[in-house]
């Protein structure tokens, strides 16, 4: 079959699966997951056919991608085209995204307790405890839509189609994070899923509207949204990168880049819009894996990598306000997320903050112009983070089984309630260990090491010493909290009965873990720096970089940085150092009981409390935005302005005139057939004036309107006269 046609078909099966499940298969659970799984496997196969035929064609450049489009909307003289394309960059995504998705789908089957009957105690909208999830089919429908949207975004050849996929994913995240909408917590500080869902959707929407403005701005400047047509049009790129925008110091490209980057800040949970992502943990774990690894946050990073020529304004290492902002936010987020992660007890939340931190690495890398390193880390991170999330889901699932066996009521996600799972869940342990080491950047054998090293090396080579230092600290903390997590979960003795009775899950959950472990190790070898002694040559002189830079126009392709030992040593040191410290604190002396105070808490004191509370960012947002918004929406606009002020003004002016003695007689003789009791009425009425807060009266409405007309008239009169 024709390759370009195949690209069109990649996102189609999951979308069809969504429709099929919603419309026809929602009564049959087995049919639902069969349809969903088949559809994503089809997408996966098609993607890999496309990807490998792209690899096979050799180093063709972004100038000449697999491309297919239709005229979609006429816009006056030209057309807005809709199409799909695969070039060097998104072929990488097509390599790992469908694979992760298939793994997640397979995992979901076991995770939702498929095979057990529906239990009476399991209500729709709550996590299943005894039997299969009552909304099993709906779950697969949403998941399919999610996958379809992500694949649409991946193959899009233009920013608009990308945005469509982007927003549909936002919607799916809303639906899926709130999937267990019935869940409530006793703790008032905990965020129930239905709130988390709205929070996620709205926070990302804040960013999305800015991104949409960026898209509109780009479209109005360039006349097209097709990536290829913009980046390879030298004249246009010259204009974009040299014309000043309306904000001083920013060229048009800078401003567009900044607006688009805000989209990424939301989608990829960068500071200060990161708040939604930890709460997104309220969704079922496969959803977390989907959001954090395979799809959503990757989409944010992918978008700015895709728009790199605009963001970097043509060159990669020049002074550029947008790039500086990106670097700063990325580096800050990397450190910020990592520090919070060290003080969390929830097994998934640690990973959530870890994701925020790792995304910060990618963003910072991109901000420094490390195009290749950012993409490389995106890919390796997807593998090991999906692995870790599913591993954590497997742990939670195991502990929950234990809970039901011994009828205990504990929080199955709290690491303090675990311990000693190593022997009880061996497959989960070993795969989780591989993922954790990859995340920590364990030297030489894990993918995470190579990609993180690439970022650090690039930062060092291009003299971003501050960023380098910050990222090193973040990397150290990463290794530390990873080891903390592994120790608390797997080592020592079980601290609760549930943990004691936990046992390994069935094959649909463990198989994906094993597959992803493979990639978490070996995916790193394709991107080893070419000048790295021995290994560089051994692994083909960094084929990843050679492949990837092809996506860019020739004069923008970044050169490989010169290899130096210092960053490598640093990255080995922080990884091993972090792991070692983590082991010394938590692994060597495991917690004895679930109530024991965390040893570091004593050391850090109030700082720990602050970290545990995530620097109070949520609280700050609540006080600074949510409350005022409510106040504006309800009190100010509705109660005061709509009901109060307008009427109030009328009545206030009334009493004023009255008291000022414009007086009954004069006014009434001129204008009104005056009743004698006017005066008495007037006084009573003046006293009540401020009480008359009323609407629903048509004449008041008319009065407002006529006053508005008069004001407009007076305003124009003054403008013209003056």
């Amino acid at each position: 079959m024709n390759t370009t046609l195949l690209i069109w078909l990649i996102p189609v099966p999951p979308l069809i699966s969504f429709l099929l499940i919603v419309l026809f298969a929602n009564r049959t659970k087995a049919l639902s997951h069969s349809i969903a799984l088949t559809s994503v496997i089809m997408s996966w196969i098609m993607s890999w056919i496309v990807v490998f035929s792209a690899f096979a064609k050799g180093y063709y450049y972004g100038e000449n991608p697999f491309h297919s489009y239709i005229h979609w909307l006429p816009t006056g003289t030209t057309y807005l085209d809709m199409g799909v394309a695969v070039d060097n960059l998104n072929s990488i995504l097509l390599f790992f995204v469908p694979l992760c998705i298939v793994a997640i789908f397979l995992y979901s089957i076991g995770y939702s307790n498929f095979g057990k009957p529906v239990h009476d105690h399991d209500l729709p909208g709550t996590p299943p405890h005894h039997g299969v999830d009552p909304l099993y089919s709906r779950f697969f429908a949403f998941l399919s839509l999610f996958a379809g949207a992500m694949l649409t975004l991946t193959v899009a050849d233009n920013l608009l189609l990308l945005f469509v996929g982007w927003e549909v994913m936002g919607l799916c995240s809303y639906l899926l994070i709130g999937f267990w909408y019935g869940r409530e917590y006793d703790d008032p500080k905990a965020t129930p899923p239905r709130i988390a869902a709205i929070k996620a959707f709205l926070t990302t929407r804040v960013a999305d509207v800015m991104m949409l403005l960026g898209i509109a701005y780009l479209y109005s400047q360039a006349g097209t949204l097709n990536f290829h047509d913009i980046f390879f049009n030298e004249e246009l790129m010259y204009d974009l990168t040299h014309n000043p925008s309306m904000i001083a110091g920013f060229t048009v490209a800078n401003l567009i880049g900044l607006l688009l980057f805000i989209g990424t800040v939301g989608k990829s949970a960068q500071f200060p819009l990161h708040v939604w992502l930890p709460d997104a943990m309220e969704g079922p774990t496969p959803v977390s894996a989907m959001i954090h690894a395979a799809a959503m946050v990757s989409a944010g990073i992918y978008m700015i990598i895709r728009m790199f020529p605009i963001i970097s304004a043509g060159g990669s290492h020049g002074p550029n306000p947008t790039m500086e902002i990106i670097t700063f936010i990325g580096a800050f987020t990397a450190l910020f997320g990592a520090t919070i992660a060290i003080a969390q007890y929830d097994v998934k939340r640690v990973l959530a903050y870890s994701t925020i931190s790792q995304l910060g690495f990618m963003v910072a890398a991109l901000g420094m112009g490390a195009y290749v390193a950012a993409t490389f880390h995106l890919m390796t991170h997807a593998f090991f983070k999906a692995l870790l999330f599913m591993g954590s889901g497997s742990i939670i699932h195991g502990v929950e089984h234990g809970m039901h066996d011994v009828h205990e009521h504990i929080d199955p996600q709290d690491m303090r309630n675990m311990g000693g799972l190593k022997s009880r869940m061996p497959i989960t342990y070993w795969t989780f260990l591989i993922g954790g080491l990859a995340l920590s950047g364990f030297p030489f054998v894990t993918a995470g090491f190579w990609s993180k090293d690439e970022i650090l090396g690039d930062a060092w080579a291009h003299h971003h010493y501050i960023v380098f230092t910050v990222l090193c600290i973040a990397a150290f903390l990463t290794a530390y909290y990873t080891m903390r997590q592994i120790s608390l979960t797997f080592y020592g003795e079980p601290r609760t009965k549930s943990a004691e009775h936990a046992h390994e899950n069935n094959w649909t959950m463990t198989l994906p873990l094993v597959v992803l472990s493979f990639f978490a190790i070996f995916a790193g070898f394709i991107g080893v720096h070419g000048e790295f002694p021995v290994l560089g040559q051994l692994f083909g002189n960094n084929p990843f970089e050679h492949w990837l830079v092809g996506a860019l126009p020739k004069d923008m392709q970044p050169k490989p940085f010169t290899f130096t030992w210092f960053p490598v040593i640093m990255s080995i040191a922080v990884a091993l150092g972090g792991l070692l410290v983590g082991y010394l604190v938590y692994g060597r002396n495991p917690l004895k009981s679930a109530d024991q105070v965390d040893p570091v808490k004593k050391l850090l004191g109030p700082l720990w409390t602050m970290l545990e509370n995530k620097y109070y960012v949520d609280e700050f947002y609540y006080a600074a935005f949510v409350k005022p918004a409510h106040w504006i929406g309800e009190t100010l606009t509705f109660k005061i302005i709509d009901r109060g002020i307008i009427d109030g003004i009328i009545h206030f002016v009334a009493s004023f005139f009255w008291k000022a003695g414009v007086g009954s007689a004069a006014v009434e003789q001129v204008a009104v057939d005056a009743p004698p009791d006017r005066m008495a009425d007037g006084v009573r009425w003046t006293g009540d004036a401020m009480k008359y807060i009323q609407t629903g009266r048509i004449q008041n409405y008319l009065m407002y309107t006529v006053i508005a007309i008069a004001l407009i008239g007076v305003l124009f009169g003054f403008l013209v006269a003056g």
Partner: protein, 169 residues
Amino acid sequence: MSGSQIAFLIISALTVYSALMVVTGRNLVRSALWLVMTLFMVAAVFTTLDAGFMAVVQIVVYIGAIAILILFAVMLTRKVMNDTEPQTNDNWWMAVIVSVVIFVGMVFMVSGVSLPARPASDVSNQIVDLGNAFVSPNQFILPFEVASVLLIAALIGGIAIAMPREEEG
């Protein structure tokens, strides 16, 4: 000041006076009668403009139909408001101010325009021309036809709304 001007001023004064009586009267029946008077004076204004046909239409349509309709409505709803309670709402003085402001604005608007000083001399045959204008396809036949749609729709709507309540059938 010519005779026609004096006549106009008298007519205008009467028009405005009766209009004021309409808006200020306590007794609604009287207000309605003052409305008839106002409309009648407007018909007189039309005659000063050599628009005899318009004057007739004014009397037939406005007074003969609309004003009478209003009078009926007033009679029909008479018992709910007696004449002693105030006929204006709390915001009447605002209404005065706003109306005056709007009036000043209108005068200000009109004052800037250079208007024709005197009317055209020849106004013969206008009734025939008007008749033609309403039926000729390259003039105003379409508004004429649409007006009939409007009137029928209003009639149907009016009857339907004013029907007494009935049990749902």
